[in-house]
C-alpha cells in the first residue's frame, strides 16, 4: 500500500495528537494519525477547554503553559473562529482574607515566571462578575487564562495539519527493526510504516508504551463536568475557588471537588471539577454531583434555579509527578511520548506538539524538556 508509509505516525486523535500532527506537518513531515476511537473521543471530548496559567505554581509545567498560551493565541488566528477561542481571563476567588493572602503569595511567585495577575478586592468582585455571591474575600484576575471548545479545536488542528487520519483503528503492535528502532505500527487494517511513532494516546499512553517495550505509568483520574441549560452570558470569566489550585496539585486518590464555573459561547455554563482515582469507572456518583452543584451555587447563587442537562465523566491521564511525558523514549529509538498531561492537555497541547516536532526534525527545543523526559520513569535495570 503506497499510502501506508509516512514520516511519523501519531497514535491518538485527541488534542495533543492533533497538535503533534499540526506542528510536525508544519515542519515538513508527512503525518498519519491513528486512533482506535473517533476524533477527540477520549479525554479531549470530555474536557472543558481550559487554557490556564493561573492554576500552576512556578515550575516546568507553568513554563509549558505560558508557551502554549502564546501558541494558542497564534492558532486562534489561523484556525476557524468555530474553535471558540476566548481570551476571557480567569478569576480566582477566595472565601476569606486568609484565602486571599494565600492567593497573593501564589500570584507573586507566578509573576516572576511571567504570569500577569491583578488583585481584585472583595468590593470589586461583582464589577467583574455581577452574579458572584456576596461576602467573598476577594480574588485575582488572570488575563492570560483562556478557553477553547476542545473537540472543535482538536478537529480543526487535525484538518489544518493535512495529516491522514485513520479513526476506529486500534494499534495492536509497535513495529521495531533489528536495531530496536521503531519502523511503524500494526493495526487491524494492516501495517503502517514510519521512522517515528508519537504516543499521544492520553490515558492509554501507558499501554502504547508497553506495546513498544517502553514504560510509562499513566493512570486515569476521573473528573465530572456538569452542563447546564443554555443561558445568556451569566459568567464572564473562568471563575474558580482558591482551593482548586491545591486540588490540581494534589496526588490524593480521594474525591476532591472545587468548583470551576464558566460560560460558553454556545450558552451552557460548564461546572467542574472533581478529581478521584477510581480507574475507568464511568458510573455516576451522586456525591460528586451534589458537591459540584453545591460549590457552584455557593459561588453563583443564581444558578440554583438553572437546570443541569447532562453530566459526563472524563479521565485525566496523569503521571506520578503530575508532569507530562514529552520526548524520546529512553529504550526505544524513534518512539516519542506526548502524554500524561492530566487535566491540562488542552492548554499544554501546542507547546507539546511543537517540542515533539522539533525533536523529530533535529530543531532547537522551544523550552527545557528535561523535567518532562520520559526516562524519569524508566525502571532501574
Amino acid at each position: 500500500m503506497s499510502n501506508s508509509s509516512s514520516d511519523v505516525i501519531v497514535v491518538g486523535a485527541g488534542v495533543v495528537g492533533a497538535a503533534c500532527a499540526y506542528y510536525a506537518a508544519r515542519a515538513g513531515l508527512a503525518v498519519t494519525v491513528v486512533d482506535r476511537g473517533p476524533v477527540a473521543g477520549g479525554t479531549t471530548g470530555a474536557g472543558e477547554g481550559n487554557l490556564l496559567v493561573s492554576d500552576k505554581e512556578p515550575g516546568p509545567e507553568l513554563e509549558l503553559a505560558l508557551l502554549s498560551t502564546r501558541l494558542w493565541s497564534d492558532l486562534a488566528d489561523e484556525l476557524p473562529a468555530r474553535i471558540e477561542y476566548e481570551a476571557k481571563g480567569g478569576l480566582v476567588v477566595a472565601s476569606d482574607a486568609s484565602g486571599l493572602a494565600a492567593l497573593r503569595k501564589l500570584a507573586a511567585a507566578q509573576a516572576g515566571a511571567g504570569v500577569t495577575a491583578e488583585e481584585v478586592p472583595a468590593d470589586r468582585l461583582r464589577d467583574l462578575e455581577p452574579h458572584l455571591a456576596p461576602g467573598l474575600g476577594g480574588g485575582f484576575r488572570y488575563p492570560q487564562d483562556a478557553q477553547v471548545q476542545p473537540a472543535l479545536a482538536a478537529a480543526h488542528l487535525l484538518r489544518a495539519s493535512g495529516a491522514r487520519v485513520r479513526t476506529g483503528e486500534e494499534v495492536t503492535a509497535v513495529l521495531t527493526g533489528a536495531n530496536g528502532r521503531v519502523r511503524g505500527v500494526r493495526t487491524a487494517a494492516g501495517e503502517l510504516r514510519a521512522p517515528f511513532v508519537v504516543n499521544a494516546a492520553g490515558t492509554w499512553g501507558g499501554e502504547v508504551a508497553r506495546l513498544a517495550g517502553g514504560h510509562l505509568p499513566v493512570l486515569p483520574r476521573r473528573g465530572f463536568v456538569l452542563v447546564t441549560e443554555p443561558l445568556p452570558r451569566v459568567v464572564r470569566h473562568k471563575v474558580y475557588a482558591a482551593d482548586y489550585v491545591a486540588d490540581v496539585a494534589s496526588g490524593s486518590a480521594a474525591l476532591q471537588t472545587s468548583a470551576v464555573v464558566e460560560g460558553t459561547p454556545a450558552g451552557p455554563v460548564l461546572i467542574g471539577a472533581s478529581r478521584e482515582r477510581v480507574g475507568f469507572d464511568r458510573a455516576l456518583s451522586a456525591e460528586v454531583l451534589r458537591r459540584l452543584a453545591a460549590q457552584a451555587t455557593a459561588l453563583f447563587p443564581v444558578l440554583a434555579g438553572v437546570r443541569v442537562l447532562r453530566t459526563y465523566a472524563g479521565f485525566r491521564p496523569y503521571l506520578p509527578d503530575h508532569l507530562p511525558a514529552i520526548g524520546p523514549d529512553p529504550r526505544v529509538p524513534g518512539l516519542l511520548h506526548a502524554c500524561g498531561h492530566e487535566g491540562a492537555g488542552i492548554g499544554l497541547a501546542p507547546a507539546t506538539g511543537l517540542a515533539v516536532a522539533r525533536q523529530m526534525t533535529g530543531g532547537q527545543p522551544p523550552l527545557d524538556l528535561g523535567p518532562f523526559s520520559p526516562g524519569r520513569f524508566a525502571p532501574a535495570d
Binding site: A151, G168, E287, G305, V306
Partner: protein, 573 residues
C-alpha cells in the same frame, strides 16, 4: 417495613405502563415490597394515557381498543400492595452497594405538579381513602393536609385513574408547596430532607429511595426522521398527537396528514379521524410487504391482525387514503404548516423525482416507530443490542434480567413490541425478581413462566418482523436540504452535520455532537439521535466506529439547587 429512610424496597419499578404495573403487581403478590416510580400523574404509561379525571370522560375506551384489559391490570396493581409514586421523574439509578440500588427522582417538576393534582383527584374521588402514606404520590398528595382541596376546582366521584394508599405505613406526607399543591413526594422513602430545599425551579426536590432490585419498564419514545419544514408549528409527532388527544382531548388542527412508518400510524389516523379530524392522507414509507413474508409469525399473532383490521376498517369508514412507499418530504408554511409534499419512495426510501404531490393541511402527525428508552439502564452498564429497525434495546436473558445482575427490564426497553408483550414481560420479570430475592428458584420453573415465555417469544418474533419492515431505508437522507434543521433544540442543520462528517472526520453520533452541538440541547438527542447517527454513518468508508446506544447520565434535567441539596450519600464518596 420498607418506607423508612434506612429500609430499602425489595423492588423499584421505573415506569407505570403495562410492563411496570404487571411487574409490580406480580412481585408484590409474591411477597415483595414494591415501589413504582412514574413521571405522570396517572398510571398507564404512554399507550394507556387517558383523560385526567377533571375532563369527565365517560367513555375512555373510545380511545383504546384494550381499555378493559388495562383497567383489569390496574385493578390488580392497586390490589397488590405495590406503592405508586406518581410525579416522580427518575433522573438516575446508581449502584449503592452490592445488591442495593439507589433511585433518584425529581418531584415537584413539570409533571410533578400533575402528581399533586393526582393527589387532589384521589382525595376527591376516594374520600375516605386518604388514610396512609404508602399509596404513592397520588395518595400522598391526598394525605397532605389541605393538598386535596387547595385550589382544586374539581371534586368527587369521577374518573378512573390515580393511586390509592393501601397500608398506612410511614408518615408519607409530601410537603405542601406554597400554593397548596402537594409536591407528591414520599418523604418517608427519601433522605429526610424537608421541604423545598432551594430556590430550584418550581420548588423541585430530588428524592432517593433504595431497592434490592430494579425493573426498568421505561417504555419507548417516538423516533423521528427530519425533513424540510418539520420544525413548523403544526408538525407534531404521531405519538404526540395521539398523546395530546388521549390526555387532553385536543387536536393540533382540523385537517391532519399522518405520515412516517410503523403500525402506530394506522392507529393514530383512525383515532384522529374518530375524534373529528379530517385525515386527507396517511403516508407510510414502508410497503407492508414485510409482514407477508412472515405468514407464520402473523398467524401466531391473530390479535395483531385483528388490530390492523380494526384500524383498516376505521380508515375506510373515514375515507382515509393510505399511501404506502410514500413520505412527507417537505412541510410548507411560514409560521405554521399549511401544506405538505408527499412523494413516492423507491426501495431505499429515496424520493422518486416528479412524484411529489402537495396536500393542504393544518397539521401533520409524523413518526417513524418507537425507540426504546434505555438511558437509565445503560448508565449502569447494561448491554444493548441492535434491533432490526436500527434502534438499540437492552439485552435481556430468558427471565428479563439485563446483563447487570439485579437489574431487570420489561416492555419496550427491551425492544418495542406493543403493550401485551410489555404486560407479559412485566409478569415474567416480577416472578424472576421474587424468585431471586426470596431465594425460591422454583418460582421460575412453573408452567406459568413457561407459558409467559412462549408468548413473549412469539410476540417478539412478530415485533422483529415488523421492525425489519419499518427500518428506515438509507436513502431517506435525500429528503434533507443542507439547511434543514436536524437538531431541533440547537438548530443544527443537515449541512453542518455533513460538514463535520466530510470535513472533520466525524464517523459517529457522539463525535458529530461534539463538533456541531447536534444532540446537546434540552432533549439530549432524543429527537435527532437517529438522524444524526444515519448522517454520521453515511460518511464512513474504512474504520467505522461502531454506533453505541446513546448515553444520558441524567435522564431528566435537574436544577442545580436541587442537586446541591440532594441526599447525602456517605457511602458513595
Amino acid at each position: 417495613m420498607p418506607g423508612s429512610p434506612s429500609e430499602p424496597y425489595d423492588l423499584a419499578v421505573i415506569g407505570a405502563g403495562p410492563a411496570g404495573l404487571a411487574g409490580a403487581a406480580t412481585a408484590a403478590r409474591l411477597g415483595l415490597s414494591v415501589a413504582v416510580l412514574d413521571a405522570a400523574a396517572q398510571a398507564g404509561g404512554q399507550y394507556f394515557r387517558h383523560p385526567a379525571p377533571g375532563l369527565g370522560a365517560a367513555r375512555p375506551e373510545a380511545l383504546h381498543h384494550d381499555w378493559a384489559a388495562f383497567t383489569e391490570l390496574r385493578r390488580r396493581f392497586e390490589a397488590s400492595g405495590a406503592a405508586h409514586l406518581a410525579g416522580h421523574h427518575v433522573w438516575a439509578v446508581m449502584r449503592r452497594d452490592e445488591g442495593l440500588w439507589s433511585v433518584h427522582a425529581l418531584v415537584g417538576e413539570d409533571g410533578g405538579e400533575g402528581a399533586g393534582h393526582g393527589g387532589g383527584t384521589a382525595f376527591g374521588r376516594g374520600g375516605g381513602l386518604a388514610d396512609g402514606g404508602r399509596g404513592g404520590a397520588g395518595a400522598d398528595g391526598a394525605t397532605a393536609p389541605g393538598a386535596g382541596g387547595g385550589g382544586m376546582p374539581r371534586g368527587g366521584g369521577r374518573g378512573a385513574g390515580g393511586a390509592r394508599g393501601h397500608d398506612g405505613a410511614g408518615a408519607g406526607v409530601g410537603p405542601v408547596t406554597r400554593d397548596g399543591r402537594g409536591a407528591g413526594a414520599r418523604a418517608d422513602a427519601v433522605s429526610g430532607r424537608e421541604g423545598p430545599a432551594s430556590a430550584g425551579a418550581g420548588d423541585e426536590r430530588t428524592v432517593r429511595l433504595h431497592a434490592r432490585a430494579v425493573l426498568f419498564a421505561t417504555g419507548a419514545s417516538e423516533r423521528h426522521l427530519p425533513f424540510p419544514g418539520w420544525t413548523l408549528p403544526g408538525v407534531v409527532g404521531a405519538g404526540g398527537a395521539q398523546a395530546m388527544l388521549k390526555s387532553g382531548l385536543v387536536l393540533p388542527g382540523r385537517r391532519i396528514v399522518v405520515a412516517g412508518s410503523g403500525p402506530l400510524l394506522l392507529a393514530v389516523a383512525s383515532t384522529l379521524a374518530a375524534a373529528g379530524a379530517r385525515v386527507p392522507a396517511v403516508a407510510e414509507a414502508a410497503g407492508y410487504v414485510g409482514y407477508a413474508r412472515s405468514p407464520r409469525t402473523l398467524a401466531a399473532n391473530p390479535h395483531k391482525l385483528l388490530e390492523a383490521a380494526v384500524h383498516g376498517t376505521a380508515l375506510l369508514r373515514h375515507r382515509v387514503p393510505l399511501h404506502t412507499r410514500s413520505a412527507v418530504t417537505e412541510a410548507h408554511g411560514t409560521d405554521r404548516v399549511e401544506a405538505v409534499t408527499v412523494s413516492r419512495l423507491d426501495r431505499d426510501w429515496r424520493p422518486v423525482p416528479g412524484t411529489g404531490r402537495r396536500i393542504a393541511c393544518d397539521a401533520l402527525a409524523v413518526g417513524h416507530g418507537l425507540a426504546p428508552q434505555t438511558e437509565l439502564a445503560t448508565g449502569l452498564g447494561c448491554a444493548t443490542r441492535r434491533v432490526p429497525d436500527g434502534t438499540h434495546a437492552l439485552v435481556l436473558d430468558g427471565l428479563q434480567e439485563t446483563s447487570v445482575p439485579g437489574l431487570w427490564a420489561a416492555g419496550e426497553a427491551g425492544g418495542t413490541g406493543g403493550w401485551e408483550l410489555a404486560r407479559v414481560e412485566g409478569e415474567l420479570a416480577g416472578i424472576a425478581v421474587a424468585a431471586r430475592l426470596r431465594a425460591l428458584p422454583a418460582l421460575t420453573r412453573g408452567r406459568r413462566v413457561r407459558d409467559l415465555a412462549r408468548r413473549r417469544d412469539r410476540t417478539r418474533a412478530f415485533a422483529d418482523a415488523m421492525a425489519t419492515t419499518h427500518a428506515p431505508g438509507h436513502g431517506w437522507t435525500a429528503w434533507l436540504d443542507d439547511d434543514t434543521d436536524v437538531c431541533r433544540c440547537e438548530e443544527v442543520t443537515a449541512g453542518s452535520v455533513r460538514e463535520a462528517v466530510t470535513g472533520l472526520g466525524a464517523r459517529d453520533a457522539r463525535t458529530v455532537k461534539l463538533l456541531t452541538r447536534a444532540g446537546m440541547g434540552w432533549c439530549q438527542g432524543r429527537m435527532c439521535g437517529a438522524a444524526v447517527a444515519c448522517l454520521a454513518a453515511s460518511g464512513t468508508a474504512r474504520g467505522t466506529v461502531p454506533p453505541s446506544a446513546e448515553r444520558r447520565p441524567l435522564a431528566v434535567p435537574v436544577p442545580l439547587g436541587s442537586l446541591a441539596a440532594g441526599p447525602e450519600e456517605p457511602g458513595d464518596a
